[in-house]
């Protein structure tokens, strides 16, 4: 499968060099980038590589490498790929530079929506949005006469019918691998019940009514999922979909394209996207909004930064988007939202809209605390109230260590 992908990537990049007249200029400054490794980043870095003298590193573990690599002087990479979750340590350490001058010089094609401003300064350029939303087998739901679920209660009702009909192994798939993924499920569900993560004084506020409801909804999901759901990450859920083993999942929009990948998927054209289900009446879809984009390192020369930004703009141009329209929900001009984007668009434009994932130091700490403490609740070792108390306690300990709490 991996070889096939490689071959495909090779073929696509070959196509690229001939079909759309490669790069508009010749890059003569050696540049390096460190980004995540999913489809959209492959497309962007391939487009950048056409200008020459560019080395892309695509690594799903980028989040652990990036802060240290950018803190080196000179920085080990010129261009970084970040999301609103992973930009925090770079912003905090001041290792990424303001881009206002460079945007003025090279950013004519950028839309204002793409410019990530922190305190008035442009610190990153977003290229795509991402969110976890409802993906479902439209053929199965149509066969069983089920309307597209819009709330979690409807999801469970639909799951009951699917389970009864026995058409798939498990009615629901979920990204509940213990650690980051599981914590993210809670981070999605909790604001859906109207919960706030922190009090004004930085103490955690998850031990609340909304927290209990979020936990109960998560536990209810387990009735319909694979018993091994606590080891399943996004890729695993994507494969379960592709192999026709599940009928519904609240999965990342960046995984939607894979459903119609004929090399991998047995359900081409059968998976539809809808807004993330809402958790309570009048609430926002129970999910968080994410963006992915590029940043430029501080610890490099101005010439390098200039070349790096120019190259990044070449990678984020509309030619690249036209060639890879289905790879992501692009923010770049020229993107044509297809049926795969329907769910993400519906989620982002819902009223009230779901919150963006908060890029704060505290959120990183709370995310870790959730990832470590929630499994005990889902395995039944501990009740909900004790679990939320344990989450807050774990957060307090690490927040004191990190200096955000006195």
């Amino acid at each position: 499968m991996y070889l096939k992908k490689l071959a495909l990537a090779g073929a696509v990049s070959l196509l690229g060099t001939t079909a759309f007249a490669a790069c508009s200029y010749e890059n003569d400054v050696p540049l390096k980038s460190l980004t995540a490794g999913f489809e959209a980043w492959k497309a962007v870095t391939d487009a950048m590589a056409e200008c020459g003298n560019f080395q892309a590193e695509l690594d799903q573990e980028f989040r652990t490498k990036q802060p240290a690599a950018f803190e080196a002087n000179p920085s080990l990479y010129h261009i970084g790929g970040v999301s609103n979750g992973t930009v925090t340590p770079l912003l905090n350490a001041g290792t990424i530079r303001p881009l206002d001058d460079l945007v003025a010089k090279y950013g004519q094609d950028l839309s204002p929506n793409q410019l990530i401003r922190v305190d008035g300064k442009i610190m990153a350029v977003a290229m795509m949005v991402n969110t976890q939303h409802l993906m479902y087998r439209s053929d199965i739901l149509a066969d069983l006469g089920i309307d597209t679920p819009t709330t979690w209660d409807e999801v469970f009702a639909a799951a009951d019918k699917i389970k009864e009909a026995g058409v798939v192994d498990h009615a629901i798939g979920a990204t509940m691998k213990s650690g980051w993924n599981l914590a993210q499920e809670f981070v999605n569900m909790y604001p859906g019940f109207g919960g706030a993560f922190f009090n004004a004084d930085n103490t955690a506020a998850v031990n609340s009514d909304a927290g209990m409801k979020a936990l109960e909804t998560m536990k209810k999901t387990l009735d319909y999922t694979d018993p091994e759901v606590l080891v399943s990450d996004s890729t695993y859920v994507q494969q379960q979909f592709q192999q026709g083993k599940i009928a519904m999942a609240n999965l990342w929009a960046s995984r939607a394209g894979a459903m119609n990948d004929e090399n991998e998927s047995q359900v081409v054209g059968k998976v539809s996207m809808a807004a993330a289900p809402i958790a309570m009446d009048g609430g926002a879809p129970a999910t968080t909004l994410w963006w992915d984009g590029i940043v430029i390192a501080t610890n490099i020369t101005d010439e390098e930064a200039d070349a790096a930004f120019r190259l990044a703009m070449e990678g984020l141009d509309s030619e690249m988007v036209t060639a890879n329209n289905e790879a992501a929900i692009w923010l770049v001009n020229g993107y044509q939202p297809g049926p795969l984007a329907e769910g993400a668009v519906a989620t982002a434009t819902a009223n009230p809209a779901p919150p963006a994932y908060p890029s704060t130091t505290q959120m990183g700490l709370l995310h870790t605390a959730l990832g470590n403490e929630l499994p005990a609740f889902l395995t039944g070792d501990r009740d909900g109230a004790a679990t939320l108390a344990a989450v807050e306690e774990a957060y307090t300990t690490s927040a004191k260590e990190a200096g955000v709490l006195k």
Partner: protein
């Protein structure tokens, strides 16, 4: 050997040990009593995030580190905190209250004690199995026809050659939800099997994997040992009417005893640091080990925080655990050694 010769002979090795073992150990020990944290300030920040069509900007008070103008890095302070990090890892207050209320199960909800329970059990359960299985393979090979020995040795050594994390991943892929073995078993037994759905099956797989992986090591050592068994003693035992089991019990095992102690020592040290299985089997939800706990403390989250002090404390506690475990077998070796000297 002259002292000077001896000194120059071991000097490079002593130097390396000081540099790569003693120095880091001391540094970790110091770090376990310190906490280094950035100086934080609260500032009001306006952040804009893209929606699908338009941006939403929010102004909020954020806690961010103070950047030092001169160095361009975050200012940090380092404080001596005594046993604070150890207290945070051990959480003794909860342990005492759990003991006091008679609700012992609650202790196992604390990460450290949960990890310690598994680590100890893993070490002590696999130890006799590794020694036993290793000895059985060695005896089997020793009694096999000469022509067969080569291939049998080769095959039984294979598990030991595999990189541990690759080996555990292979087991994971074989037994996970739709893995080859699970799918076959499911078809055969006509029921749904989820080996990674609950703690006890994961633990069983871990024991199985570790024994499978390490038994060849024990086998090689025992096989070498078997070649030196005194044939005269064995023959006289046969003449005395000792059966197979009695010969094993009274002649072979006593002869191999120093080797058994040696394997036990190595195995205790290795097993107490169990780590690959946790990562390979993705068992964090159900089963964690002490080494994994240290790793987890060290792994930065999305915001770049890592709990270095607690990681240092948990690493020191792991070392103390290994030392305690090794005391028994080491005392025995020491006694034998002294006995031999007389």
């Amino acid at each position: 050997m002259k002292f000077k010769t001896f000194f120059w002979f071991v000097a490079p090795s002593v130097f390396m040990m000081l540099l790569f073992i003693a120095a880091p150990l001391i540094s970790v020990l110091i770090q376990s009593f310190q906490i280094t944290q950035p100086v934080m300030q609260q500032i009001e920040v306006e952040t804009c995030t893209p929606g699908f069509l338009t941006q939403t900007c929010t102004t909020e008070v954020k806690t961010v580190p103070v950047i030092d103008e001169a160095t361009g890095r975050a200012q940090t302070t380092t404080e001596w905190v005594g046993f604070q990090s150890y207290r945070n890892v051990l959480q003794m207050d909860k342990v005492w209250s759990a003991l006091g209320s008679g609700n012992w199960g609650k202790i196992l909800q604390i990460d450290f004690w949960k990890a310690l329970r598994f680590t100890l059990m893993f070490t002590l359960v696999t130890l006799p199995l590794v020694v036993g299985v290793g000895l059985m393979i060695a005896l089997a090979v020793n009694n096999a026809a000469k022509a067969l020995r080569g291939p049998v040795i080769f095959i039984s050594l294979l598990p030991f050659i595999i990189t541990p994390v690759i080996g555990s991943l292979s087991i994971y892929w074989l037994f996970v939800g739709d893995g080859i073995l699970t799918a076959t078993l499911e078809r055969w037994l006509d029921r749904d099997i989820a080996m990674f759905g609950q703690a006890w099956t994961i633990e069983l797989l871990m024991y199985f994997y570790r024994v499978w992986h390490v038994a060849p090591f024990a086998f090689v050592i025992f096989y070498a040992g078997l070649q030196t068994v005194n044939m005269d003693t064995l023959e006289s035992a046969i003449i005395d009417g000792a059966n197979r089991f009695e010969r094993l019990r009274y002649v072979i095992v006593p002869h191999l005893m120093p080797l058994i102690i040696f394997i036990a020592l190595i195995h205790l040290m290795d097993c107490y640091r169990v780590f690959d299985e946790i990562i390979g089997f993705r068992s964090q939800a159900h089963v964690i080990s002490l080494q994994w706990l240290t790793f987890d403390f060290l792994t930065p989250d999305d915001a770049g925080n890592r709990a270095i002090s607690r990681a240092a404390a948990s690493a020191m506690l792991t070392m103390v655990g290994i030392v305690i475990l090794l005391i028994l077998p080491l005392r025995r070796t020491w006694r034998d050694h002294k006995g031999g000297a007389h």
